[in-house]
Symmetry: C2
Subunit: 148 residues, 2 copies
DNA sequence: CTAACTGCAAAGTGTTTGCACTCTT
DNA sequence: AAGAGTGCAAACACTTTGCAGTTAG
């Protein structure tokens, strides 16, 4: 996998230049590991792997760079609502309209959508409880606020 | 809205009995406020409102009872992944298969599904960035483990 | 050479826990 | 009464921040 590393290097170097970021060794290794991990890692998981290559690396640096990568669109957060528990009193099947800026959540009724249908089968042994659709974007207020 | 409170009281009393939980004043007020808040509140939001009725109430009691309510299915968490940031390196549109027990996330390709289509229009002014479907359930391992 | 980045430790959040006291059953 | 729940403070886990020293451009 020599090539993969070379590709990641070129890729990150380019992306850093475009974003006005310095290209550092730490940043490269964090990026490489992140891109190689397919399982939606938490910062600690990344830290653990990067450490094996740069034992002196600090967890804060991992957090800093993850944040920077997310801000510059090299990476995304799985959930808009990590950080604080949000509660749901509506136990009926339904979906969500989520504002990625103010984090507001609005319910969408199940029959606002055409039925969600799988074309292929899911991995063997997975037992499905429910489906939920998240419609992500900006609510009216935030969209307006962003137009200064 | 006198009736609504009475309904909630009866409802919670019944549910507590069924679950073997004590029925307390604090628990009732927390439950009532939770059920009255349509906007997917965080524990702090609930605390703030319950406090107006029971100034001596502790935030820990709110957390405790929310946890108990979730465990007994009176309430649900919006996201399985609050608590720790989880990262996504796949920026292509795709969906997720999520194990609610071990929190594992697997990607599902966009074309594993029939196209997601809205029947009705969304609230005025909401600007959509993307849709994502979460298929929630138990992965093979967790499903097996649960069968003792 | 300057601005940006790193490492460390300290400070911040959000959440849980241990314990003495009180209330429900 | 006995067990469950409450309030408080301390403990925890996860994340951010301030600062002195280092490195990239």
């Amino acid at each position: 996998m020599k090539e993969k590393a070379a590709v990641a290097t070129t890729e990150l170097r380019e992306r850093c230049r475009a974003a006005g970021l310095s290209f550092t060794h730490q940043r490269l290794v964090i990026y490489q590991e992140l891109m190689a991990m397919g399982d939606h890692p938490a910062p600690e998981d990344v830290y653990e792997r990067v450490r094996r290559q740069i034992p002196s690396l600090s967890l804060a640096t991992v957090y800093n760079n993850i944040k920077i990568f997310v801000e510059h669109g090299l990476l995304r957060e799985v959930s808009v609502h990590h950080g604080s528990l949000r509660l749901e009193n509506n136990l009926e099947p339904h979906h969500h309209l989520v504002c990625t800026q103010c984090k507001a959540i609005e319910d969408l009724s199940e029959d606002d959508f055409e039925p969600i249908r799988l074309k292929k089968s899911l991995p063997k042994g997975f037992s499905v409880h429910r489906f939920t659709v998240e419609v992500l974007g900006l609510c009216r207020k935030c969209a307006a606020a962003n137009r200064h």
